[in-house]
Amino acid sequence: MNDAAPALEVESLVKHFTSGRRIGSGGGTVHAVDDVSFSLRQGEMLGLVGESGSGKTTLANCVVRLHEPTSGSIRLHGRDITHLSRRDLRPLRRDLHMVFQDPYSSLNPRMTAGEIVGEPLRLHRLAGRKVRTGRVAEIFERVGLGPEHRFRYPHELSGGQRQRVGLARSLILNPSVLVADEPVSALDVSVQASILNLLRDLQRDMGFSCLFITHDLATVEFLCDRIAVMYLGKLVEVASRDEIFRDPEHPYTQALLSAALVPDPAEQRQRRRVVLEGDPPSPLDPPSGCRFRTRCPLHDLSAPDSDEIEPPLREVSPDHLVACHLSAPGSKTPRIADPPVTTPVTG
């Protein structure tokens, strides 16, 4: 492990799927992730947001090597893991864990919660039965599950409890990097709150780095230090949480933030929002030039450049990256909407 290196570095990552012929689609190449670069710093919570189908899950699956990337590289603590064989990858699995979106289908229905959580220890031959039982009990307590839950099967647990089991399983090996794909989206708000609080506490205590994927902006704002925004297979903006929410640059980020609903009618009904016209373009045939141009309210201002030239993701102010022709050091994109803000409740 190289301590100075970022926990995770993704460089020029591409993942294309060759789709077969289906009714109504001619087959072709799905540009799910196209030339994406970012790094996850040590101990950082990085939020990844974007429209449905923009490639978030694909990116996460490439990072944990569930998908073979088409090209590009992935480094874990400075070590290139892009092409490691399954066998060489195995010891690294302890360091890099994933929590899945659907707490139900990702848990083996024939194993008890205790067995599910202890399995990584067993697979990695890290502990004998007795030690394992102790570790499982410990982590159960840590994630707020009772000892009685150890002998229950997934279908005997509530959604929130299942998600805790998934989290416990991911954390039992003390990974240094956690990739969480929409871990709370399927849950009730009150259950969501307890899982989010838990994740934040665990992260502070255990110090892991986390790539947190969601489409809920309020969640990333609560949890994450930095935020990356994805649109149609590309990163369009990366910045600190405060920057993104105070001063979103990319027109897509602005639209996304403006569409987020503020849970307060007095604020919500006064906000200026941009509703994006039309449907997201197909990843089978992404637009030339800027991929957002077909729906961008500022397209006229950047044409004809944006029709032909793809705007690169570049640093426009310290630690703030944007991919739009209208954004450059010293010149900002026009504001087209109001970011979500609630007036703090006092008292």
Binding site: S52, A218, E221, L261, P263, P344
Partner: protein
């Protein structure tokens, strides 16, 4: 909203006969809906939102025992014979189901499916039905409606499918549209478009909307009035602005505290400890008692009646916020 109510639901209860025994899904719920009003129904998963709405149009299975009344246009929907029921359903009251993909038939085109509704209810010819389908697609702002009308559901994006569902529900100019989680499966930018569409429908066609959701942001955006349900009961009802500004029931307060609030730097989100009770019969005490920090002897032994803490603001709690503030 003091107009004569369009729909008046009184003491609605639903009990299911399940393999594990009876289950009280809805317990003595009453509310009204005024013309042109958007009424939000919110609450956690399983609190009875969908069952409440489905019982109004009698879409529940045989295992459901429904009592109470739901008077629409002078007649009790719960007592309607099958013929009159069919006339009301789809024509005067339309329903959009929670899962859009399962409610569209994959083997028929969008135009066939909308056309079928107008032919059945309005007796239009095949040609007129197709024309109406195109108009409706236009109404819900689907681009190139003449082309889309001949497409199959899988050729449409999630947002467009939901628009088709809305178009279908509006086919006969209903007075009431019941929309069950119409935006839950969609992402935020698409959701914003659907909410704008519903607002526009209410303005242009005067349709009253019952909007079921667990997303308080959706309610904050569009609802005039909100009902909060918990474990089958209505625990609070208020105009939307007031509910958010001055929530009264400890459950509502907890729910609002549990969502991350944009623009604030919260250290922690509020959690509601414990679990929702599942009851075989109506509980004879406050449904929230075992999770409530204000619970006491009264709370654990009596059912709190709904009472008005302010005009139009009802709460079923022995210890609402208003009492504490005083």
């Amino acid at each position: 909203m003091s107009a004569e109510p369009l729909l008046e639901v009184s003491d609605l209860s639903v009990r299911f006969d399940t393999d594990e025994g009876p289950l009280q899904a809805v317990d003595r719920v009453s509310f009204t809906l005024a013309p042109r009003e958007v009424l939000g129904i919110v609450g956690g998963s399983g609190c009875g939102k969908s069952v409440t709405c489905m019982s109004l149009v009698r879409l529940l299975p045989q295992t459901a025992a429904v009592t109470g009344s739901a008077v629409f246009d002078g007649v009790d929907l719960l007592a309607l014979g099958p013929r009159r029921l069919r006339r009301v359903r789809g024509r005067e009251i339309s329903y959009i189901f929670q899962e859009p993909m399962t409610s569209l038939n994959p083997v028929f085109t969008v135009g066939d499916q909308i056309g079928e509704v107008v032919r059945r209810h309005l007796g239009l010819s095949r040609r007129a039905a197709r024309q109406r389908a195109v108009e409706l697609l236009q109404l819900v702002r689907i681009p190139a409606p003449e082309r889309r009308v001949d497409e199959y559901p899988h050729q449409l994006s999630g947002g467009m499918r939901q628009r088709v569902m809305i178009a279908m529900a509006l086919a006969c100019d209903p007075k009431v549209l019941i929309a069950d989680e119409p935006t839950t499966a969609l992402d935020v930018t698409i959701q914003a478009g659907i909410l704008d569409l519903m607002r526009e429908i209410r303005e242009r066609l005067g349709t009253a909307i019952v909007l079921v959701t667990h997303n308080l942001g959706v309610v904050a955006d569009i609802a005039d009035r909100v009902i909060v349900m918990y474990a089958g009961r209505k625990v609070e009802e208020a105009p939307a602005e007031e509910l958010f500004a001055a929530p009264q029931h400890p459950y509502t307060v907890g729910l609002l505290g549990a969502i991350p609030r944009p623009g604030e730097r919260q250290e922690r989100l509020e959690e509601i400890p414990g679990r929702v009770p599942a009851a075989a019969a109506p509980l004879e005490h406050c449904v929230f008692a075992d999770r409530c920090r204000f619970a006491d002897e009264t709370t654990r032994t009596q059912v709190p009646a709904l009472r008005a803490v302010r005009r139009d603001h009802l709460v079923a709690c022995f210890h609402p916020e208003a009492d504490r503030a005083a």
